[in-house]
Amino acid sequence: MSLDPATVRRIAKLARIRVEAGDVGRLQGELNDILGWIETLSEVDVSGVAPLTGGAQIVLRLRADEVTDGGMAEAVLANAPDRVGAFFTVPKVVE
């Protein structure tokens, strides 16, 4: 499975990373090298094996669905690159 330039641009779009036209070729080569290398996994027989999602011995805990924290708008907004009052700002989304 080798990536073509259109696929590289599609991945960049999905990842929300701007890639200049002149960089597509370089990225295509780098990503294909890495993907070619991880291709070795296709030789492993994984039939009947259940996927392991995380730390082996972990059983996720449940807790009561209740509010345990909050009321700290200033702390949440403290690092905002731009804000108006108690809100984050973004470029106009709806015309």
Partner: protein, 494 residues
């Protein structure tokens, strides 16, 4: 010199009143001022805050209320959020980020009286094995090849600044995080002890996330016993981390004194890399002999899926990273680049804020999770991960711990392996499998290579059995008598 003491010795001396915490911290503050401009081990230095913490430690010592780490100067990897102190993750995108909260691990250290000298440099978002991807510049390894004072070596990564700072005696210990080897490999490259505990032993809350199913905090120090003290403080159940394990924290320092008589130590045959340097091969055999001499039985074992560890890692970790790093969008915190619409704002912000390696990994992760490729890459990798864990589970049916090299080579020079991402990834060939399985693993210095550079041995243990890992590591440390010191260190003219 105060800066040459171990944490264990300094803690005793502080209690006897041989010197004050203020004097101990001042000695390290001076060392940072003298050597950090060259080594670049710290991104942010917090000397004033450290001296205030030292005075508080002196007051606690005088009142007989001092915690186990009272007055001990540490470096904190700049991946741990520290309230009111800039936390960058080594990235431009967080260049001005000041967390309003403290990570659980650093809060535990502060509870026990530790003094923080600053935030240690690292590969950007902990993605790297050389510290070369930091947006805040490379870190110089304080060790030098014999007869070659010019060559600048890497400290390893991603916790390269932490390791360099401890090795150069700028601090007595440091925190790191380990996702595929980011504590163990720099510990080996800098002649230190460093442990990645079992996944879940230390809370990830407040640690900037890279690959959440693998990330695990742990300590660096110059001795195994000092690592035991630090881990005892850092570890513990935390309700704020859903994967934190609710187990009592054992007395790791006591475990260091257990010895290895009667233990069975496994030698995984798949760890014999083709191109392993002779010195590494010899040290590995020597390590096994030390353990045999101390009463352990050496047993050959097989971890048949070892050779798939790295490829599995380079699917799972980028996949999780692509998801975790989606939060850096230029809206809620971090750097923002303006755009005509929201998508352009996102794309420009992330292109400007992330370095090349981080962008590569986000894109690989995005691809292996995308429609049509998820089963072929990500799901398959998770199944191979299950097989890697099964290898360890079966091996631990026969042995109590494993002994392997930590890294295939000693520290390499800055600039090497930079053109080929895969050559860089191969550094982690021996450390990644334990990460995939979530088991504890420690690097302990065993000796020097022909060029005078430190080499590390890795001790891997059963889940939640850090105690055996410490016991085995201590026997190696005692037998090795590793007393070499780096060329660049506090008190030595650079």
């Amino acid at each position: 010199m105060l800066t040459d003491l171990t944490i264990t010795a300094a803690a005793g001396a502080l209690r006897r009143g041989d010197f004050t915490a203020r004097e101990l911290t001042q000695a390290h503050v001076d060392a940072v001022a003298a050597l950090n401009p060259r080594l670049n081990a710290f991104i942010t230095v917090t000397s004033e805050r450290a001296l205030e913490q030292a005075e508080a430690a002196d007051a606690a010592l005088a009142a007989g209320e001092a915690g186990v780490l009272a007055g001990i100067p540490l470096a904190i990897k700049d991946l741990f959020c520290t309230a009111g102190v800039r936390t960058t993750a080594g990235s431009r995108i967080l260049e001005h980020f000041v967390p309003p909260y403290e990570s659980s691990v650093t809060a535990n250290l502060l509870r026990d009286g530790a003094v923080f000298l600053g935030k240690a440099n690292l590969d950007e978002f902990a993605m790297g094995s050389s510290n070369m991807t930091s947006a805040f510049g490379r870190v110089e390894n304080p060790w030098k090849r014999v007869g070659d004072a010019e060559a600048m070596l890497v400290p390893g990564g991603s916790s390269g600044g932490s390791a360099a700072a401890v090795a150069a005696r700028l601090v007595m210990g440091a925190t790191g995080t380990d996702t595929g080897g980011s504590i163990r490999q720099p510990a080996a490259f800098c002649g230190l002890a460093g442990i990645k505990p079992t996944y879940g032993r230390c809370s990830r809350w407040g640690v900037v996330a890279f690959a959440s199913s693998l990330d695990q905090p742990g300590p660096f120090a110059r001795t195994v016993g000092d690592c035991a003290l630090l881990l005892g403080s850092m570890a513990g159940f935390d309700a704020k981390d859903s994967t934190s394990v609710d187990l009592a924290v054992p007395d790791f320092a006591a475990a260091c004194r257990r010895g290895v008589a009667g233990l069975r130590i496994g030698v995984p045959r798949e760890y014999r890399a083709d191109a392993m340097p002779e010195a590494m091969e010899r040290l590995w055999r020597q390590g096994l002999q030390w353990l045999r001499d101390a009463g352990a039985a050496i047993v050959d074992v097989s971890l048949p899926h070892t050779k798939y560890g790295l490829a599995t890692y380079y699917i799972v970790a980028p996949a999780e990273a692509s998801s975790n790093l989606a939060r850096y969008d230029g809206v809620r915190f971090g750097r923002r680049e303006d755009g005509h619409d929201l998508t352009e704002l996102y794309e420009r912000t992330r292109a400007a804020g992330f370095g090349a390696e981080v962008q590569r990994r986000i894109m690989i992760g995005t691809y292996v999770l995308s429609a049509g490729y998820y089963d072929a890459y990500y799901l398959r990798a998770q199944k191979v991960r299950a097989l890697i864990l099964r290898d360890f589970t079966e091996a631990f049916g026969q042995v109590d711990a494993l002994l392997t090299p930590t890294a295939p080579t000693a520290a390499f020079a800055q600039g090497e392996k930079m053109d080929d991402p895969i050559a860089m990834y191969l550094n982690d060939v021996f450390t990644v499998p334990a990460s995939m399985a979530g088991v504890p693993a420690m690097s302990v210095p065993g000796g020097l290579d022909a060029q005078g550079l430190p080499l590390g041995l890795q001790v891997i243990g059963r889940p939640y059995d850090e105690e055996t890992v410490f016991a085995v590591s201590q026997v190696i440390e005692d037998a090795a008598g590793f007393s070499a010191m780096p060329a660049i260190r506090a008190g030595v003219a650079a």
